[in-house]
Every structure is written in C-alpha cells, then in structure tokens.
Amino acid sequence: MVILLSQAVATGNCWPDRYTQIVVVMAQLWIETCWLIPVYGLVGAIASLPWSMGWIRLTGPRPAVYINILMTLVALAHGGLIFQGIWNQGGQEIAFTWFEAADFKLNLAFELSVINLGAVELIAGLSLLAQVFALGYLEKDWSLARFFSMMGFFEAAMSGVIMSSSLLLTYSLLEMLTLSTYLLVGFWYAQPLVVTAARDAFLTKRIGDTLLLMGVVALSALAGSLNFNDLYEWVKTEDLSPLLATLLGLALIAGPIGKCAQFPLHLWLDEAMEGPNPASILRNSVVVTCGAYVLIRLQPIVVLSPVALATLAVVGSITALGASLVALAQIDLKRTLSYSTSAYLGLVFIAVGTEWPGVALMILLTHAITKALLFMSVGSIILTTNCQDVTELGGLGPKMPATTLAYSVGALGMVGLFPLGCFWGYRLGIDFLWVDHPELVAIFLIVNLLTALNLTRVFRLVFLGEAQPKTRRAPEVAWPLALPMVTLTVFTLLVPLVMQKLYLLPPWTYVNKSALVCLILSGVIGVGIGATIPLSKALIRSMSRPVRLLQDLLAYDFYTERLYRVTVVRLVRALAIASDWFDRYVVDGLVNSVGFASLLGGESLKYSISGQSQGYLFTIVVGVSLLGLLMTWTMW
C-alpha cells in the first residue's frame, strides 16, 4: 500500500493528477482496512478493561468513556471515508481465510456496498449519540466503565454483522450480539427483574440461534461454502427436496425471528427494558435492524422454500398486529415503545416474506432513527423524574421543552406523516403490496393507526395534563443528554433531505394516490382516537369487566410468558428432573445395589465361619460332589 502510494506520488505529472491518484489510492487503503471498523469498537472495549475491572481507580471511570467515544468517532470517520470511496468506485468484497480443513473452508468476508456502509454509518452515528447520552444518563453509576466496554463490544458486533458477507461470520457476530445483549441487559445484575430479563434475553435468542446454527451447518454441508455470493449461486442450480428446503428455510429464519423479537420469540425485548436506557436506544433501533438485515441477506436462500417465505409473512403479520395492540395497554414508558419496535420489525418481515427487500431496508432505516430519538426522549424523562410509569407522569410539556420536542418529532416520524421518515417506508410498502396482497396493506395501515393512537396516548399522559408529584419539579436535562437528543431531533427532521441526496426517494410520477390517502387517513384516525379516548390516571385499569379482561390480556402480552412456562420451560424442567431421578435411582441405584449385594453376601457368609472342622469338611464334600455331578452330567 505504501509502495502504491509512493508510486502514485512519483508517477503523477502535475499536481492535480497526482492529487487524484493519491485520493484513489487512499480510498483503496481505507477500503482494504475495512475490517478495522469492528475492531475499533473491540479495541475500545478491551482498552477500558482496567477501569471496568477496577484496577485503575485513581482517575475514576471517565477515561474509559472517552476512549470508547473516541473509538466510535474513529469508526465513524473511517466508515465515512470508505463510503466515499465506494460511492465513487462501486462495491467491493474483501475476504480472509480463517479456517481450512479437508473440504471445509471458512472465510471471513466483508462486503462493502453503499447500503452496507450506510448502515454501518448509521450504527456508528447512533452509537456515538447513545454513548454521549450514556455519559449523562449513567454519570453516577459506579460501573460506568463496564457499561462502556460492553457498548464497544456491542458496536463492534453490530458493524461486523452488517458488513459481513459470509454466513459463518454473520452467525458468529449474531452470537456476540446475543452475548452482549445478555451482559447489557444484566448490567444492573443485583436486581431480581434484571436477572430474569437477562436470562430470558439470552435463552430466547439462543433458541433462534441454535436453529440458525443447524441451518448454517446443513447449508455448509450442502453448498460447500458459506459466502453469501457462493450461496446465491448455489441456490440457482440446486434442486433440493421440498422437505429439506422447507426445514432449511425455517432454520435460517429462526435466528432473525429471535433477534428481531418476533412472535413467538418476542418476549425478551419487553423484559430487556429493565436494562439501562442508553443500551435500549441501540437495542430498539439498530440491534433489531442487524437481525433484520441478516434476514434480508438470507432472503435469496430462503426463497428456496415457499413455506418459509409464507411463514415470514405470517409471523410478521401476527407480530405487527399483536405487538401494536399490546403496546396500547402498557403503562411502562419504555415498554409502550418497545412493543412498537416488534411491530415495525413485523412489517419488515412481511416485506421480506413478500420478497420486497427494498421496502424492508427503507422501513429499517427510517424506523431506526426515529425510534432512537423516541428512546432518548424517554431516557431524559426517566432520568429527570426517576419514574417510568406513565400513570405517575404528566404535565412535562412546558417543563421539558427539548424533550417534548424530541418526542413529538420522533412520534411524527414514526407514523406515516409526510414528509418525515417512516412515511416513505410505509408508502413504498403499500405501493408494492397494493395489487397482490391487499390484506397485508391492511396490516400496514392498521399498524400505522395503532402506532399513532399509542403515541398520542403516551404523549397525552406524559406531557399534557396536570403535573404529578413526580413531575412537579422536573427541569430540562443537562447537556450530555440534551446534546445528542437535539442533534438527533434535527437529524430526524433532515432525514427526507438526506434520502433525497442519496437518491432513495421515489419520483412523484409513480404515486398511487388512493394508497397515499389511505395511509394519511389511517394516521389521522389513529391520532384522532388517541386524542379523544378518555385517559384517567387513577382508573387506568377499567372498571367494566369485559374491557378489563381485554386490557389485562394485552397488558400481559396475551399471556405469552405463561405460554412459555407451560410449554418449553415445563418440558425442559420435567425432562431434567426425570433424567436426574433416573440417574440417581436407576443407573446409580443399580450400580450401588450390585455393590451392596456383594457386601451383604460377604457379611452374611461370614457367619458360616463356625470354627468347627466338621462343618468345613461337610461344605467341601457337598461342594465337590455338586461339582462332580455337574461335570459328569452328560454321562448319565
């Protein structure tokens, strides 16, 4: 690389030539070192170990924070440079051989394209904002450094997943994400709810990951390579039996189902809200995006099986509708929003299931930004009021203007309001599905309606109305929280412009007018219902029995937790207890009884030792004659 660079310098005749050549070579340098982007996060994580393990105490935990923020900045800058290079030169793939034995070769491959790099920049940017936010949010936490090393790890895994173009690397990094989710959710590990939340997050995702691993191993045996591009080629020529294709497809989508909190593996996201808020910002915006992004990469393989595609659409629909409804009955501020994450990812699943990855990407991008903003505003409220129960909040609007603005912008961006973010995702989805799948269009519209309703409901409960005891003295947040929040507010407002710059907006000539009207109408109706339904804080649980039953059904997430408990958990526990019992009493019991029998035999035989020689003689005679009888048996 250095040689190339010096050649460029030497061969260029005049300065502008030389300059462009240097630029090209440098761009190539940035591209070839793309693997550094995940490494930056990892370096940050490792470099903060001395503080997080408590080996350096004199300085306080702040240096670890600065190291990680710096590393994220570096990753952001590097990503930007690569983005520029890719924009000019086109996509590239970079591969290293990691492990090779017999016919089994594992590559670590990165694919650099505009979309990938855009997603990496999004992750780095949101991670940067979330880290600055965390500096304010967790300022008084004793293990600030530990939090930041986990964030570095988290960020590394996410950017790796996005850039990876080998299924093995993707799987590995998804597991890393699972691990870091476990550690981040379990950050405040002394609280009982956190402990169960961390456990459930890990195990739920692990179910999906194990199925995905089965798919990966089977695919590796069938196709011989795990690079996405090779797999895509393989899919074109492969002629699998329908059963095998279906099983493979289902195994492959199981991982993303767990990662994106889709039915039936969705409960962990709700519980994960026990973790610190800065991690929730990332989890609800970009982590789920990573899972969905993997699904988009897998989609050309999943098409082998129509059943798996249909499953995607069905799972997406169930989650989108179910989660939107469940969100309506939540009274925990963070949970009202986390269910809408599941719902939007359900829309993404529908888009992938109907083979419209473009729609999926659009929803992911716009959802990630607005959801991050919503979670920042929620974080500000929680830090200021020490409360996340919407029934105890109220009247914050005039007291916290920046936060209110952030929430409003985020909420407006979330619903399909022209021209803010999610409008475009909705529009694209409805346009494409309009003719073939009107029922899915209905789901899009209902999700929009319910989201608008829910966000309006929360807005009224939190920002309007009388001030409550906990909100009476609520000042606006300090700068470490306000800065990222306001930045993201402005950015959310600018998203349409950015999208236009990147040629992501469709031309107006193709607009389906009736679809547009339906979309806007659904949002307006949602806001209308949300603005007019009676919201009584004291009587948040309805007095009328049928309404209350419905409310409870939704509030407890259709009793999914109980469903888990009576099915999977009970099954595993019963099997475990059964095998333990079998082990203790049957296997070991048999062995011990053999030992016991021989001891007992010896013990009882010793009483035949009488000391009288005629007794011994008698025994010998009997024994010998029996032996003689036995040996001469055949002669008789």
Partner: protein, 515 residues
C-alpha cells in the same frame, strides 16, 4: 524424544518422594511445577520438530522389552496424540499451580500428580497395545489415592467407585486387546491397524463391543457415567482439573485410536448405533446437568454431554469429524479445566458450592468479580459462543458429522442450547443478584465480605482463559497438527462422505434414521 515426556515426570516424582529431608509444601509445589514446566517445554520442542505433513507416526522409539509376551517398548506420536500431549502437560502444570501450598503430606501429593502426568503421556504415545494398557492402569492408582486422601467427606465411596469402574474398564480393554492380537495372529502387541483385517466380522464386533464399554466407562458415556459426578464432587479442585481435562481424554483417545482405527469394519457396522448412543449421552448429560444444584456436579454432567459430541464425530468417521474429535478433546479439556478451577475458587472462598444458597458473587467490592467475569467467559465458551475454542471445535464436529448422520447431529446440536440453559442458570443464580450465602429470606442479613482472591490464585484460570480465547480466534493453531493425520488415514465411511448431499436428502426424505 518421547521417552523424556514419560521419564521427566516419573523421575521428578521419584526425586520428590524419596529425597531426604523434610520439604515444606511450598517447596514441593515449586519443584513439581518446575518438572511440569520442563515437560511442557519439552512438548513444545517436540511440536516444533513435528512435521505436520507426515501422516504416520513420528519420533518412533522401539526396542524389545518382554519379547515372549509381545510387549515391546514402542513409542510414537502423530497428529492425533500431539495436541493431547500438550494439554496433558499444560493442565498438569495448571493443576500443580492451583494446588494450595499448605496441603496435607505435600510430597506424596505432588509426586502422585507427577506420576499421573507421566502415565498419561505414556498412554498417549504408546504404540504397543500392552504398553498402552500398562500406562492406562498406571494412572489409576495415583488418582485413586488423590481422591481417597485429599478428597471431600464421601471420598472413600467416590474413590472406590472410581477404582472399581476403571478397573472393569481396564479388564475389558485388556481382553479386547488380547482378542485382537490372538485372533489376528499377530506375534507381538505392537499397534498395527492391518492386524484385524483377517478377523471375521462377528468376533470383531464382540471385540469392539468390549472396547466400547471399556472406553465408554472412562469417557464416560451414559449409562456408565455415574462414577464421574461422585469422583468430581469429592476430588479436590486440581484433581478435578486433571480428571476432566486429561484423564477422560484417555477414553476418547482410545476410542478413536483403538476402536475406529483398529477395528474399522466393525466400527462401520456399529456406527449408526454409536451416533444414536452419542445423542442419548449428549441429551441425557445436559438434561441431568440442568437439575443439579451443586456447581461441581453441574460441570461434571456437562462433561458427559460434551464428551458425547466426540462419540458422534468418531461414529461419523469423516476426515473432518475425526479432526473434530481432536479439537473437541482439547477444547473440552481447556474449558472444563477452567470451570473446575473457578468452581474451586468459589468453594474455597465461600465454603459451599450449593447453587441454592450462593447469590450475587459478582459484587465488585465484597464478592468475587474477577472469578465471576472468568466464569461468564468459561460458560460462554462451553456453550459454544464464537470467538472461543468451544465454538469452532463443535462446528467442526457437527459439520463433519452431519453428512453421515444428519438427524443425530441435529439432535446433538440441541445439546448446545441446553448447555446454555444450565450454565446460564448457574451464572444467574450464583453470580447475579444481591451478595449472600443463605437461602433466600426476607430477613435482612448483615453485609457479607468474602476473603479477597489473590493474583496467585487467579493466574491459572487467566492463563486457561487466554488459551481458550486465542485458540478460538486462531483455530488453525489447534487444527494444523492433526489435519494431515486425520485427513489421510483410511476412513471406513469415506465413500458415504463423498456423496454428501444425497445422504442428507435421503435422511430427510425418510422421516428418521435413528437406530
């Protein structure tokens, strides 16, 4: 070259045991550590001179010993044994290092440890069936004493159980070896895979059956496993490390070397049953582990599950899966060694291993934060999280086996999910929550302060953790030794392996091929 690996520890043990003058514990430990260190260095030297491209035995040493019996002193090492020699020396050193200096009768204790190391190294390099058997039995006595003298409260029971089980295993193996040589018409007991070509299938099956039970006891596989949890629970921490990390590997090594390679025809016939057996062992071990409340017992049952993967890979007998057996042996040795060390530290600081009373040990000031962090790393490695050696070895095992036994492999993979379940339960119960060593009550307890863990106690675990991560990131450092050996030897099911997609498709076309 190889004799030194046997002689150094045995000579060290002799010196340590017989040197006049009363040695203190610390000095005896130092001496033993130096001896183990020297043999570790020696293994590294052997490794450096080892030619990884040669498929056969290297560094062969041979001279007649008891000729009428056919017992020759014949040593050699190939890619299968070399990694095992390395973990034998490494874990030998670690276990000496992790032993307390103030131990009862230190000279006997450390001498026995050295004897075990020497005997195990001998078994791995022995190229004569009788010689292997002698070393296999030689390791038994010191371990019996180590459990029976320095063990827990029920040590006599556990040690006797161990002794009886392993003695039975030894008899079966000896019988099988005799049968192989006598029926094969060999004049000596030297290891020779061509010896069995002339034996009919039925006698081969019987011989293999005896070998399987013999090594199945040692590995241990369901239903011959119950000695293992007892032995682990009663053994002291360093002995557990040796037992799990090194001695169980004698069983799996024997399975591959003497079962798969010596009796390939019978192996091919039995292999579907063996794969089914592996599934049962994996799932049974993992499920039983979930129900345990003693941390050490949980780790012990997890060993049973993880050793099942090796049987699966050996049953599949594709070149890749044989490589997988070696990798899984090493990775299991390192990971279970680490877990036993950490459980031992928890036990020595809190006085209990009961998961129903221990809580919140991750507490930063009063608890055991470093031990907790390492424990999370260890359980994640065991659960097969990428970036650590457990993942890549399991991946190779599964990838190598799925082409032959798809259904059994997929069922075994459930074991990795179950591993996550029980180890997560362990971490959640013991390390998360509020620090306490009582049953959960509402009564407010006074603040508990655990004695601090010194760096000297942490180092052995840190070293193992570093090795686990390093090999996980660079798995070729582990696989390169065994690659040639596992890829070139005659594989009975190699024809099946070439017809990869067909067998997979067939397996799914017919609903199940579980025996």
């Amino acid at each position: 070259m190889l004799s030194a690996l046997i002689i150094i520890p045995l000579l060290g043990a002799l010196l340590l045991g017989l040197w006049p003058g009363g040695w203190q514990g610390g000095r005896a430990r130092q001496f033993a550590a130096i001896v183990q260190g020297v043999s570790l260095v020696w293994v590294v030297i052997v490794g450096c001179q080892f030619d990884i491209h040669v498929p056969g035995m290297q560094f062969v040493e041979s001279f007649a010993w008891v000729e009428p019996l056919g017992l020759d002193y014949q040593l050699g090492v190939d890619g299968l044994a070399l990694p095992l020699l390395f973990i034998n020396s490494l874990l030998g050193l670690i276990s000496v290092w992790a032993s307390p200096a103030r131990i009862l009768r230190p000279r006997l204790y450390f001498a026995l440890m050295l004897v075990i190391s020497g005997a195990v190294a001998g078994a791995f390099v022995a190229q004569n069936l009788l010689l292997f058997f002698i070393f296999y039995e030689l390791e038994l006595i010191p371990l019996y004493l180590l459990i029976a003298i320095w063990g827990g409260t029920r040590r006599a029971y556990a040690a006797t159980k161990f002794l009886i089980y392993t003695a039975v295993s030894g008899i079966l193996i000896l019988g099988s070896f005799l049968g192989v040589v006598w029926l094969g018409g060999g004049s000596s007991f030297n290891y020779d895979p061509t010896l069995t070509a002339s034996i009919d299938l039925l006698p081969q099956l019987i011989l293999l059956g005896a070998l399987l039970v013999g090594f199945g006891i040692k590995i241990p596989l369901f239903p011959f496993h119950t000695w293992l949890p007892d032995a682990h629970v009663e053994a002291s921490t360093p002995v557990s490390v040796l037992l799990a990390g090194v001695l169980l590997k004698l069983g799996t090594y024997g399975l591959v070397r003497f079962g798969l390679q010596l009796l390939p025809d019978a192996w091919e016939v039995l292999s579907p049953w063996l794969a089914g057996w592996a599934v049962v062992s994996v799932l049974y071990g993992s499920l039983a582990a979930i129900a345990q409340t003693d941390m050490k017992k949980m780790v012990a049952y997890s060993s049973i599950g993880h050793m099942g993967y090796i049987l699966l890979a050996a049953a599949a007998a594709t070149p890749l899966s044989v490589l997988g057996t070696v990798m899984q042996m090493v990775s299991h040795g390192l990971i279970s060694g680490l877990l036993f060390l950490l459980v031992g530290l928890v036990y020595s600081k809190t006085g209990t291993r009961d998961m129903t009373v221990l809580r919140g040990l991750l507490n930063p000031e009063r608890g055991l934060p470093v031990v907790g962090t390492l424990m999370i790393l260890g359980v994640m490695a065991s659960g097969g999280i990428p970036g650590m050696v457990g993942f890549v070895s399991e991946l190779v095992v599964f990838r190598g086996s799925i082409v032959v036994f798809p259904v059994q492999t997929l069922l075994s993979m459930i074991g990795t999910a179950l591993t996550a379940v029980y180890f997560l339960l362990l971490v959640n119960r013991v390390f998360f929550g509020r620090l306490a060593i009582t049953l959960p009550t509402d009564v407010i307890q006074p603040d508990l302060i655990l004695p601090p863990v010194s760096w000297a106690e942490r180092w052995p675990s840190i070293v193992l953790a570093v090795v686990i991560v390093a090999l996980g990131i660079q798995p070729s450092w582990l696989s390169r030794w065994s690659e040639t050996a596992s890829l070139t030897w005659r594989s009975p099911t190699v024809t099946v392996a070439q017809a990869v997609p067909d067998s997979l498709c067939e397996a799914f076309a017919t609903p199940t091929c579980l025996p």
